[in-house]
Amino acid sequence: MSEHNGNLLSVNDLRTYFQTEDGIVKAVDGISFELKRGETLGIVGESGSGKSVANLSVMRLIQEPPGKIVSGDIVFDGIDVRKLPIDDVRKIRGKRMAMIFQDPMTSLNPFLKISTQLMEVTQLHLGHTKQQAYEHAVEMLRKVEIPAPEKRVDGYPHEFSGGMRQRVMIAMALSCEPELLIADEPTTALDVTIQAQILELIKGLKDEFGTSVILITHDLGVVAGMTDKIIVMYAGKIFESAPTRELFAQPANPYTKGLLKSVPDPAHEHGAPLYQIPGLPPDVAHLPPGCPFAERCDRAKDICTKEFPPFVQINEKHHSLCHFAKEVYAASGGE
């Protein structure tokens, strides 16, 4: 068990930059968060917000060059992952922390049988013999509810549907009963009825194994029902972090408020225009001096385009990156 205030993972002031032709892109620029055992954290953001890079950094999967973790601590169960030699990282990765991606077709090897791919993980990390690994593979497929697992285990990825492939990925990720599962847009490529199946499965397995989960998504609906707390990212920064219920009930950041309002609500009458955040997400290689959201923000004042906003503490667990965080928080309380 960990002695770090019960935190399984704590990330402190993480910065991951990329060298590009366009200059230095600060994809992740000073983010901090913590995750307790058994807890589920949602990371929400649009494309280019840095949500995926943040988690690839935690797994030490950043291609170097062009990328580099330039500063920060990533502490996983007392181990400083950032300073660990890569060979030691490999012993943790896949065993104690695992990841699933958006597109299961590109993350499975099309030339290898499902059984071979599943067996590789436990043979490497748990020292399973071939026989043990094979039985374990069948057992894992059964756990993720693949019908007739003893037959399907010898199939190839192309013989599985999108939803079934994502189940295989989950089976592979959970093979060694990892303490941390990072799911990067796990249901984005799937149909809604299949998405519902996969989310239900992740929930069930999380309860069974007591796994901590980081769920990365652009869909506010997905995080609403799945997470304990949420981080909202924009332009490489955390714009807001709060317990899930509070974030939805009383957001303290204009960007979060805008995102929540721009999702169509089926309960409302159609016809009225939808709230829209004006403009485009910023070019992360050329960020303006003040708040990166200022030019799209409907309550921006002079100060917002000049000074970088403070990360204001609203209460013990709620923070917002905004010059007017407290005012925004108070205003959304009355809505």
Binding site: A196, A224, P278, L280, P281
Partner: protein
């Protein structure tokens, strides 16, 4: 027939689009095939009207045939059977020249603004091409003037006319796609997943833009999407499609608040709501299994293999789209105007 209304701009009658994949021959049998001819019934007998000035939403999961249906309306794919009437002529049987003329009225917006714009053409040429094709402006400068006008209509600066698609963001590219469709002053636009590739904050912009343009130019839309929240927001009426067939058709409000067909119920209940309190309480109908292959789909009601209410007859009888409540149509033998709630029927 779902609607007999003088205001119908498009009238589909038993529309069919089949793709023959071959098979069933000697070679197939020798190589251990099923021995059956494999036919994809992408659109399998669809009948509905699209009224002038409305947005008809078409929802369904991948492989249900919704995109094929959209393409068939513009004859971007050949129609196997049935009729697609537009202003008294059947799109299915137009000759090459007649069809080209009609395409001025019937336009399309695509899902992927990265793939649907030629990367080697400037924005001016992309939007100007249909104007030149249909000879809507007589001089070079007149074409350019019209292009600039359309660009402004969709919220693009006219200064960008010499730029290439890669210089724009996804949302801006979708605006270029919309501008190209609008350049010829069409009457009807098929929008095939126009917002799925865009970020959340940009989706709202595009939906609002399409709505504004509709009011300004009296456009009629077929809005195809798998995103039920978006479809509900933009559509007057919504059609739900499953394996080539329309299973339910009604006003957006009725379909969301009181879906009748078991598939629509499951589809709507599967959409996660951005509200933790609702999410915690609600009961989801989780369908088992995947959508079956549209190659030789299940007999009878195509949904019977996944339907929690299916009975023996569902395997045999092909349900017709019937008016269960006023202006609310569903294709399910388990429900009827007397018993519209399938839960009640199932309890009996």
């Amino acid at each position: 027939m779902t609607e007999t209304n003088g205001n119908a701009l498009i009238k589909l009658e038993d529309l069919k689009v089949y793709y023959d994949l071959g098979g069933g021959g000697l070679l197939d049998r020798i190589t251990g095939g099923s021995g059956e001819r494999r036919i994809v019934k992408a659109v399998d007998g669809v009948s509905f009207d699209i009224l002038k000035g409305e947005t008809l939403g078409l929802v369904g999961e991948s492989g249900c045939g919704k995109s094929t249906l959209g393409k068939a309306l513009l004859r971007l794919t050949e129609i196997t059977g049935g009729r697609a009437m537009y202003k008294g002529s059947d799109i299915a049987h137009l000759s090459g020249r007649e069809l080209r003329e009609k395409r001025k009225d019937l336009q399309m917006i695509f899902q992927d603004p990265y793939a649907s714009l030629n990367p080697r053409m400037t924005v001016g040429n992309i939007i100007g091409e249909p104007i030149r094709t249909f000879k809507l402006a007589d001089s070079k400068s007149a074409v350019e003037e019209r292009v600039k006008e359309v660009m402004e209509t969709v919220g693009l600066s006219r200064r960008f006319i010499k730029r290439y698609p890669h210089e724009f963001s996804g949302g801006q590219r979708q605006r270029i796609g919309i501008a190209r469709a609008l350049a010829v002053d069409p009457e009807f636009i098929v929008a095939d997943e126009p917002i799925s590739a865009l970020d959340v904050s940009i989706q709202a912009q595009i939906m609002n833009l399409m709505k504004e343009l509709q009011q300004e130019k009296h456009l009629t839309y077929l809005f195809i999407s798998h995103d039920l929240r978006a479809v509900r927001h933009v559509s007057d009426r919504v059609a739900v499609m499953y394996l080539g067939e329309i299973v339910e058709l009604a006003e957006g409000k009725s379909i969301y608040e009181e879906p009748l067909h078991p598939y629509s119920k499951a589809l709507i209940s599967a959409v996660p709501v951005p509200d933790p309190e609702i999410e915690e309480k609600r009961e989801r109908i989780i369908l088992e299994g995947d959508v079956p292959s549209p190659i030789n789909p299940p007999s009878g009601c195509h949904f019977h293999t996944r339907c929690p209410y299916a009975i023996e007859e569902c395997k045999k009888i092909e349900p017709q789209l019937v008016e269960i409540k006023p202006r609310h149509f569903a294709a399910c033998i388990r429900i009827s105007p007397e018993h519209p709630r399938i839960e009640d029927v199932a309890r009996e």
